[in-house]
């Protein structure tokens, strides 16, 4: 009897094997859990990942040229750019047809002006060349070559045709080249720009070292504050916490403007120093519209992001640890470095990552107080998004920034370990 029960599979009351029944119940629970996270997942996918990916794709997307000039594209690809001669009548005829089509289809994404703008990023002059030609193209008669050159003499210069031929491709690397201060030279080879025209690499470097410095300064200032908050009685520490959070609830612009009023040459701090005789009127300190301004204002703005994770970690460290270390003979310094600080590393990691990542993407504060030496890469990304409308270059710069951040994140994971991070 005992033998048979151990050999036959366990069954539930209705006779289904227990394993199957359990599996079913689990599946149901899993499904329910999935359904619960599905809205959030869909939300993040739709509002976060899809836009970011579609924006990043713009850094290589180049379809506008061949899409707007469909007749010209196949003919131009057969042209020998090294011949030093402009293409023949057949290409001009196709181009005339494309211009006519785009004039009729202007609001349907087929604007010749758009192509002119696009090509102007590669070579100055395309913008007006396409605009002028588009205006006159309605009246073009064969021979088209003469008509084009009469409308705009740049059509007779092979260098423009060379760029057009190259950029007929559907995906381009020229935005990425531009983002690292490079481009195509007159022979069509990839090359770095001349030193006087290099901007972006310098700004990337500046963005990273300044963000590192800001993170370090935040840590230095936040650590004692967070410690104080964690050991005080809750009534006092709540009061102090409000002081930490208060700036958080104030508009970023207001806080930045307040720093302008404080730091500028005729500002509060300088005037105070001059009035007390600590500073000569002629030697007022330059604390704003330069790197110093950006660093001071950004440290202030980002400080709460360091204090809060540190505080939440320190709050959980029992004071008895330090007392135990002291009673076992450690000096205060040893007790701090061997016992207390290692326990706060999850908070340091979380705060540092938050502050660093926020500061590499900051642009309002540097734009207002940074002057010429305190401007960061995000200011140029914003410029290309909002003013120059060169979204391809903005996307390429953004993608590089993202990749660099990921790389740093991996380094951080290797050294500190991402599991060791505690956000609150």
């Amino acid at each position: 009897m005992a033998n048979t029960t151990t050999n036959s599979p366990l069954v539930t009351v209705d006779g289904t094997p227990l394993k199957v029944s359990l599996g079913r119940a689990k599946r149901k629970a899993k499904l329910r859990a999935l359904l619960l996270v599905a809205p959030l997942f869909a939300f993040i996918l739709l509002t976060f990942f899809v836009p970011i990916i579609s924006m990043l794709l713009r850094s290589v997307d180049n379809e506008v040229v061949s899409y707007t000039l469909p007749n010209t594209a196949p003919l131009l690809s057969q042209w020998d750019a090294s011949s030093g001669e402009i293409p023949g009548e057949a290409v001009f005829k196709a181009l005339a047809a494309d211009f006519k089509e785009s004039a009729e289809d202007k609001y349907d994404d087929k604007s010749a002006g758009k192509v002119g703008r696009r090509l102007n990023y590669e070579l100055t002059g395309f913008s007006s060349m396409f605009r002028k030609t588009a205006r006159k193209s309605k009246k073009f008669e064969p021979p088209y070559k003469e008509a084009f050159i009469k409308a705009e003499k740049k059509w007779g210069d092979p260098k423009y045709w060379q760029v057009m031929q190259r950029e007929m491709r559907k995906a381009t690397d020229s935005y990425y080249l531009a983002a690292i201060d490079a481009g195509y030279d007159s022979e069509g080879n990839r090359a770095f720009n001349e030193p006087g025209k290099r901007v972006y690499l310098k700004l990337f470097w500046r963005t990273f070292w300044m963000s590192g410095l800001i993170t370090g300064l935040c840590l230095l200032l936040a650590y004692p504050v967070a410690y104080l908050l964690s050991i005080l009685k809750s009534r006092t520490s709540n009061m102090l916490m409000i002081l930490v959070l208060l700036p958080f609830w104030t508009s970023l612009l207001v806080r930045t403007s307040a720093w302008i009023a404080l730091l500028q040459k005729e500002g509060v701090i300088n005037s105070l120093l001059v009035a007390t005789g600590m500073l000569d009127d002629a030697n007022r300190l330059l604390m704003i519209h330069n790197k110093a301004g950006t660093i001071i204002a950004m440290v202030h703005v980002l400080l709460p992001f360091m204090i809060l994770p540190l505080y939440s970690v320190m709050k959980t460290i029992p004071p008895s640890y330090m007392r135990a270390a002291r009673s076992l003979g450690a000096t205060p310094f040893t007790a701090f470095t061997k016992v207390y600080m290692p326990n706060t590393i999850p908070g340091i990691g979380a705060g540092a990552i938050l502050v660093f990542i926020l500061s590499i993407g900051y642009y309002i504060t540097p734009a207002l107080v940074g002057g010429q030496s305190g401007t960061l890469i995000s200011n140029l990304i914003a410029y290309h998004l909002e003013s120059s409308l060169n979204w391809g270059l903005a996307a390429a710069l953004g993608a590089i920034l993202l990749a660099a951040t990921f790389a740093l994140y991996l380094v951080y994971d290797k050294i500190v370990g991402i599991d060791n991070m505690k956000l609150g």
């Binding site: 994404d109 703008r117 100055t124 395309f126 007006s128 006087g196 005729e266 140029l380 120059s388 409308l389």
Partner: protein, 363 residues
Amino acid sequence: MKLLNRTLIAVAVSAGMVGVASAKDLVVVSWGGAYTASQQNAYHAPYMANNPDITIVNDDSAGGAVAKLRAMQEANNVTWDLVDMVASDAILSCDEGLVIEIDHNAVLAAAPDGTPALEDFGDLVVSPCFIPQIVYSTTFGYRTDKVGDTPPTSINDIFDLDKYPGKRALQKKPINNLEWALIADGVPADKVYEVLGTEAGVAQAFAKLDTIKDSVIWWDKGAQPPQLLADGEVTIASAYNGRLFSVIEEEKQPIAMMWDWQVFDLDGWVVPAGGKNEADVLAYLNFATDTQRLADQAKYISYGPARASSAPMVGKHKDLGIDMAPHMPTSPAYAEHTLLYNYEFWADNIDDLTESFQAWLTN
């Protein structure tokens, strides 16, 4: 209960539809602040009084409007009916097919004497999509208390650190600064763009700017230079003339203007392609850009009306009661040395020269 709910919803929906049918909202995008207020007073309010079925809704997001317009068009959901833009942005939007081309003479009112609109606006119609509204200028303001008895009178003084020590505020872009540098370096004004079109010319302009580079605070937003002047941070600043007017006349700061080589620029309307109320917007434009309306706007802000026929009708400031004609950048008193923003040149060279400018700033 369910039935009641449904009935309520049905009633609400139909009421809403009736509402849409009888009244229309036109979303007009402009710069906000005193500028939108001047448009509200001079154009919107009288138009709405004459056309009770139209409501004009102000949207203050003209900064970065081209980017937003492009995003809207890509999403196929253009929610703006009319946008206020500077001329260079209007040209850009026109190229991109973001805004519609206008038949100026058909859409806009003729001058009181019958001059067709296109002729009345003259060469200020810099793009077929653009309807000019005002002429503004980028010019200079200086602290009267920091320049002694000899206030600056010429563009050369901007670059003269011995005669006028102290910081300068200039706009953080190549436009205007490069032109001024060349003029101050002795290039005749009519040759400026020719010279700037060559590499040597660009180098010459940057070399001249190098002489004051360490004394310049670069501004981004139009509100900054009047503030920098009022705080005494800078001695001389380039700024929009309307901003200087308000800091001088309304806030009574010790600041005065220097008009030498002011650079004219234009601001006006564009109609987004794919907008849902095109016919109503064009009807509104016919009213809002007529001779009287453009002259009326100058009662509220010191920008010059873009129509030639409006100039003689400019009156007094509504609140201050001062004569506005001498405060117009187009006033003959300041006409000796002026430059008109060269749209053609900058449309081609903006990308290249902005890059050079940024590199120059960074190095």
